[in-house]
Point group: C3
C-alpha cells in the first residue's frame, strides 16, 4: 500500500548561520516509522535560506561554513545592483542556489537512511530573518 | 490512485544568463491540477546549463547572479585544460554542478507548493547555446 | 503496479577527484529495465564526498573540476577551526554541500533518461578516503 503525507513545519527565527534541524523534522513527522521503503522530501519555501546535509557532530564545522561562505560570497561585492533589501540580501540569494532548496532522504524500515555523521542543516543566510516555512512530503510503501 | 506522467519540454535557445521558466513548465503540464499530493520533477538533460529555484520578481537578482558567478568561475581561469569547445565550456560545466540538474517541487491540492517569491530558473551557461531539453515527471496521488 | 526497490552499493576507495560511476550503478540495479516510468535515487551516506551529474566523455573535464574546485575551496584557508581531522577535511565538507548528496534520475521505458553527455560522478573530496556507501532507491510504475 502506497501513501502520501504532507505537512508544513514552521521553523522559528534563527540567527544567520548553519543549524541542525534533523530532530525537529523527525519529531514533526512520526509517520516516517510506518514506511517500509520511501522518501522524505524537505522543501524550503524561501529564496534567502537553504538546506543541506552535512556533519552532525562538531559545531566547529558549522562555524567554518559560516566563515568561509561569507568570505566567498561577500556582502561587500561591489558590483551587486539588487541592494534595496540590504547588503545581506543578494549574497543570500546566491548562497541559496549553491546550497539546496530541497532534500530527498531515503526512508528504510521506518527510519531516515542517513549516514552516521549526516544531519540536516537549515542554512539561514539573512542577518535578521523571521521564521521559515518547510513543506514536508513523505511517500512510499507501508507494511 | 497513483499516477505517473512524463513529458519532454523543449526550451528555445536562451542567451547566457538566468531566465524564469516557471510559467513554461506549468503551461506544459496542466495535469498538475489533478494531483492531490505529489512531486513534479524537472530534469535538464545537459551538462552546460542548469536549474535552480530563486527569486521570481526583480530582474536585478538574475543580473547579479550573472555578474557574480561569472567572476567567481571565470572564463579566464588559466589552469583549465578542457578548452577545445571554447573558453565558456569548462566554466559552464562547473556552474552546472554548483547549480542543479534536477528540481523536485512538491504538488499540493493541484498546485506547485512554491513559496510566494520562488520561481524556476533556467541557468544558461554557454554563450551561444541551442535549445535545451527538459524531462518533466509528475507522480503522486490523485483525488 | 507500483514497486519500490532499495539496495546498498558499496564503492571501493577512490583517490581524491571526480570519477564516473554510471556503469557501476546501472549494473548494480538491473531492475531499472522493469520500470515504465520512475525515478532512481542515488544517495551518498557521507559528508566528505558527493555526487553530481556532468560530462561523461572527456577526462580533462574531471581533471579541471579537481584543479579549479581545490583552488576555490583551498586546504590552506587560514580561518578554518575544524582542523583536527586534517587540512582536507573542512574543504571536503564544504565541497560536499556545493555538490550533491542525492541525485534523482528519471527512468523512462526501462532506462535512465540521462542526456547523451551526462554521467554520474562520485566526487571524492578526501585525500585518503575509504570506500563509500550509496543507498539506491527506485520507485515507479512497472508495465
Amino acid at each position: 500500500m502506497s501513501e502520501w503525507i504532507q505537512k508544513k513545519l514552521r521553523l522559528p527565527a534563527f540567527p544567520s548561520g548553519y543549524h541542525l534541524i534533523t530532530d525537529r523534522i523527525t519529531e514533526a513527522f512520526p509517520e516516517i516509522k510506518n514506511y517500509r521503503a520511501g522518501i522524505l522530501q524537505v522543501f524550503i519555501q524561501h529564496t534567502s535560506a537553504g538546506l543541506t546535509i552535512n556533519e552532525n557532530a562538531d559545531p566547529s564545522v558549522r562555524r567554518d561554513f559560516q566563515t568561509f561562505v561569507n568570505e566567498l560570497i561577500p556582502e561587500s561585492y561591489p558590483r551587486f545592483i539588487h541592494t534595496d533589501e540590504g547588503p545581506d540580501d543578494m549574497p543570500a540569494h546566491i548562497k541559496a542556489s549553491f546550497f539546496d532548496s530541497q532534500l530527498q532522504i531515503p526512508i528504510q524500515n521506518g527510519r531516515l537512511a542517513l549516514g552516521t555523521w549526516q544531519g540536516i542543516y537549515l542554512c539561514e543566510f539573512r542577518t535578521h530573518a523571521g521564521g521559515r516555512n518547510l513543506m514536508l512530503t513523505a511517500f512510499g510503501e507501508k507494511d
